[in-house]
């Protein structure tokens, strides 16, 4: 039980309020001139203000263009690996067609960005490369990875899903309805790419819809995994199997505020 009386409690709250007012009055709001009486140790660094980072329609389109280059680079790497042999020979032709589609998509979205007065962006998204694609390629191309060919297809599948989700996601963010339609016109073709690659990774009509691994309970790759287009993160399971049989899982997410291609972002290539 508290030993304070009601009167004491009221008095204490009054003192607290008064103290707050005094402290507030000592701030800049009260017009107090800084006389530099408070010393600091050392030099305080000069700060450079961040550039204005407004998420405009042009920024969203430039970001979409950057993902197209991520996809093109993924297919170029896949083809350069020379692993599509035997049963996977047809994948090389598919990769060439998909890569050509991405070049067309990049031209299309860059053209839209230029119409809005922005500069075109003809490089891959650095953050997407550094966060997802390069770590994935390191695992895939490791000498002791016995699944290089199928893993590079898995990466391409993940990148296609990322692109489809990005276009679907920007529909809610673009301000111009015509641009929303342009975005999903491209996004729907990325979804088709993803569905075709999913059937290479997990073939058969039984595996078109969602299924799960009987051992791990984790979802298998599916051409049509959900009834509405998902914007959830994308699982990519690749690399050499560990002693317990599991493999590394990377989670890919669509570009966020820290990976958008703002007006001030220039190609590093």
């Amino acid at each position: 039980m508290s030993t304070f009386t009601r009167r004491e409690l009221l008095r204490m709250s009054g003192i607290s309020l008064a103290s707050g007012l005094v402290l507030a009055a000592c701030g800049k709001q009260a017009g107090v001139v800084d006389d530099n009486a408070i010393t600091i140790l050392g030099q305080s660094p000069v700060t450079t203000p961040l550039a204005d980072a407004e998420v405009t329609d042009a920024v969203l389109l430039r970001t979409a263009a950057s993902l197209e280059y991520n996809a093109i680079e993924t297919y170029t790497t896949a083809l350069d690996l020379g692993v599509f042999t035997g049963d996977l020979r047809k994948v090389a032709e598919i990769a060439k067609r998909f890569s050509a589609d991405h070049k067309d998509h990049a031209d299309a979205v860059n053209s839209l960005a230029v119409k809005l007065g922005a500069k075109e962006f003809r490089c891959s998204n650095t953050r997407i490369s550094e966060s997802y694609i390069l770590p994935a390629l390191k695992l895939i191309t490791a000498n002791d990875n016995p699944n290089q060919a199928i893993d590079i297809v898995a990466l391409a599948h993940a990148v296609e899903n990322l692109a489809a989700q990005t276009y679907q996601g920007v529909v809610a963010m673009l301000t111009d309805p015509m641009l929303r339609a342009d975005a999903i016109r491209i996004g729907q073709q990325e979804a088709r790419h993803a569905a075709i690659l999913a059937q290479i990774l997990n073939p058969g009509l039984k595996n078109v819809g969602p299924t799960s691994d009987t051992k791990t309970g984790k979802p298998n790759i599916a051409a049509v995994p959900t009834e509405f287009g998902s914007l959830a993160n994308i699982q990519l399971v690749i690399g050499k199997p560990k002693p317990d049989g599991t493999r590394t899982t990377l989670l890919l997410e669509t570009p966020s505020l820290n990976s958008l291609v703002y007006d001030f972002v220039a190609c590093e290539a």
Binding site: A172, P177, R180, R192, L205, G229
Partner: protein, 152 residues
């Protein structure tokens, strides 16, 4: 609150989804389908049920709740030959994608446009799988040469 223009566009989209739902239902009565084919088409049918019901929920009292008889009958005629099933279903999915995309050009609400976009990306996956059942020509799975249907 939907604008009158969005109500009109969504009501038409619902009509198209109802029509597609019924086209799948008609195909599913075919005895020529294998178990795997039936399971696949039941799944796609269920998706169109979900789309129609979602649009119905958005439209509430403005929902039309009726299919387009002319489109339904034209596809019924195409489906009379068993070998046409996959091509016909591919065509209706591509029509859905083209029509919904056309609707997004004028839908005012960004949230509603995003919902329709989430339908389009899955219908595109349907189309790719349906194409793979009828041809090895990858262009059939990737390209959409159908024309959009628009609300009158």
């Amino acid at each position: 609150m939907l604008s009158p223009s969005d109500i009109k566009l969504l009501a038409f989209a619902q009509t198209l989804e109802l029509t597609t739902r019924d086209i799948y239902a008609a195909v599913l009565t075919r005895k020529s389908l294998s178990d795997d084919e039936s399971a696949l088409l039941e799944q796609f049918h269920a998706h169109h049920v979900a789309y129609e019901q979602t649009l119905n929920g958005l439209l509430s009292k403005n929902a039309l709740n009726k299919r387009d008889e002319a489109i339904y009958e034209s596809f019924n005629a195409k489906l009379s030959e068993a070998q046409n099933i996959w091509v016909a279903l591919l065509e209706i999915e591509n029509i859905m994608i083209a029509s919904h995309t056309k609707a997004i050009e004028t839908i005012e609400s960004a949230k509603v446009a995003a919902l329709v976009a989430s339908i389009i990306t899955v219908e595109a996956r349907h189309a790719a799988i349906l194409a793979s059942q009828t041809t090895t020509n990858i262009s059939m799975a990737l390209d959409n040469n159908t024309s959009a249907l628009v609300a009158s």
